[in-house]
Amino acid sequence: MNRAVILFRGVYGVWLREITRATRDRGQMIGGISRPLIWLLVLGVGLNPYFRGEVFGEVKYVIPFTYLQFLFPAVIVLNIMYTSIQFAVSVIWDREFGFLREVLVSPMPRSLILLGKVLGGSTVAMIHGGLVLILARFADVTLDLDQMAMALGLMFVLSFGLTCFGVVLASRVRSFEGFGVFSNTVILPLYFTSSSIFPLDPTLSRTQTATAYPEWLVFMVQINPITYAVDALRGTIIGFNQFPAWYGPAVIFAMAAIFFVWALIGFRRQ
């Protein structure tokens, strides 16, 4: 029989298992739904009126968007980050509870086992990111089909890269205990320094930015890869970029490639 078909079945099997498990994990599902609601309904609505300045009695937004519109793409990224990085738990689970051996004694190559697993994790993460899109109307964001397809594509590649990052983390963590805390200490700093909840005002020059924000914060934002992922989605969804438009997609694809190779090196060792 055709070897490609056999290998495809294997990847499909590993992928399908991740999806099946995700549909049974109610906690993760609730998190995936409640997180965007809190961020948009509470933080977004709460800060919406303050996202503007008054110049000679004229109300002006700092950037030509409302805070909800500005925040919306970032919340998608946040939801993807949580689900992707939590994927490490599934990897640790497989390893510690022995299921991994069942796959390792099958004739499937290691790289395809990992590919199937990561594809499964990134599909779930992309769906969690997609859940946020349901709130688009509420955040006053309108998307046509092209934008939607483009956004979903970027979300998938981002999910893939971050899921691989989760696998890399998993290869360094021995137990579940404290992984929740650990993942929060990774996710939240990355999220907050990604220009997700505040803009780096593009109308200001570099020196002016440095007066508005401390130098270290600007530096953190600029070296954080998530900044560019958020920027890519903002560019696609509300048409606002703080960096050259090609930066975002380039960083997203580079993360996917680098983390996959990194994850593979770690996985081969098992």
Binding site: G13, R17, E102, P107
Partner: protein, 322 residues
């Protein structure tokens, strides 16, 4: 035709400690082969090497003529493995676990369906196909794992402690499936166990201790060569024990007990005449694989109380879950 499994001068170590020390054996196709040894003897390491999950330090291991180090992927196609602890996904149903196994072994949809039904019927779990594995008892999980290992029709089956922690009825049932399979499919079965009564029916028994093979042969051969009659005694006090040890240097200490190889009836009579009044318990043990192990290693194969506790714990867990 090459042997089903052949191992030559295998060495393995873990953290600087030698786990396998120059292990060699060969198993013909269709045979049932038992690796007998206490916990920590190196059985699981040996199985891990044979099913390509870890590399040996030195030596050669072949599965159906395929070198497990050089061609691991090819070797994996011919083997089925049941691990010492469960490797089922307990959040999936029994059927989904089998479906997964079929997919990663590249079976076509119709074949997957037919085989999953067949193996479920074999282990009498047809009615539980759609139940989530988390709700299964230990025995049901084991049976499902054996079913799964057979789904891709391997020619060699590895069973690492397949019946540990199970109640006697379930153990009996699992062994009867395995015997039937071996007869019907000419399957080669390698089992590791520390339950001595389970290896009495094996074609070949290999006794392993501290990473080395110390005896090998059919159960009958082993009993003939190494089995002697043993006299187990519980001395009344420590002074008696020490005295006996001095008088009979061949005696083996087993905790508070002593075991004496019975060379002849006269020797036993003389011993009992001298110490009868200072013993709490006297028991003769006829030659069995258990006594073979005792002769070879100077230890009993396992702590019996421990085994009983295992069985109790597993039945308690099941009671709590159902």
């Amino acid at each position: 035709m090459s042997a089903a499994i052949s191992v030559e001068n295998l060495f393995a170590s873990y953290g600087g400690k030698t786990v396998l020390n120059d292990v060699s054996f060969s198993i013909p196709r269709g045979a049932s082969f038992a690796l007998l040894g206490p916990n920590g003897a190196g059985k699981t390491t040996l199985v891990s090497i044979l099913c390509t999950l870890r590399l040996p330090d030195r030596g050669r291991a072949q599965i159906a003529g395929i070198d497990v180090v050089r061609q691991p992927a090819k070797a994996r196609e011919t083997i089925g493995v049941v691990f010492q602890d469960s490797s089922l996904d307990d959040r999936l149903s029994a059927w989904e676990n089998l479906e997964f196994h079929g997919l990663v072994h590249g079976l076509a949809p119709k074949v997957r369906h037919a085989r999953a039904e067949a193996v479920l019927a074999l282990v009498e779990l047809e009615d539980w196909a759609d139940e989530i594995v988390r709700n299964f008892s230990g025995g049901m999980r084991r049976r499902l794992e054996i079913a799964r290992a057979l789904m891709h029709e391997p020619t060699i089956l590895f069973l690492d402690e397949p019946t540990v922690g199970l109640d006697p009825q379930t153990r009996q049932r699992i062994w009867s499936y395995l015997d039937r399979l071996r007869r019907e499919r000419n399957l080669t079965v390698l089992t590791t166990t520390h339950y001595i009564e389970e290896v009495e029916t094996a074609d070949q028994v290999c006794v392993i201790d501290h990473g080395s093979i110390i005896a090998q042969g059919t159960p009958g051969e082993l009993k003939a060569a190494h089995g002697s009659r043993w006299l187990h005694i519980v001395p009344r006090d420590e002074t008696t024990a020490t005295e006996i040890e001095i008088a009979y240097p061949q005696a083996q200490r087993l905790g508070a007990n002593l075991a004496l190889p019975v060379a002849s009836e006269e020797m036993a009579d003389a011993f009992l005449a001298a110490y009868r009044n200072r013993l709490e318990e006297i028991r003769f043990q006829e030659p069995s694989l258990e006594s073979v192990f005792l002769s070879l290693t100077g230890r009993e194969l396992r702590d019996r109380a421990d085994g009983q506790r295992d069985a109790q714990r597993s039945s308690g867990r099941r009671g709590g879950q159902r």
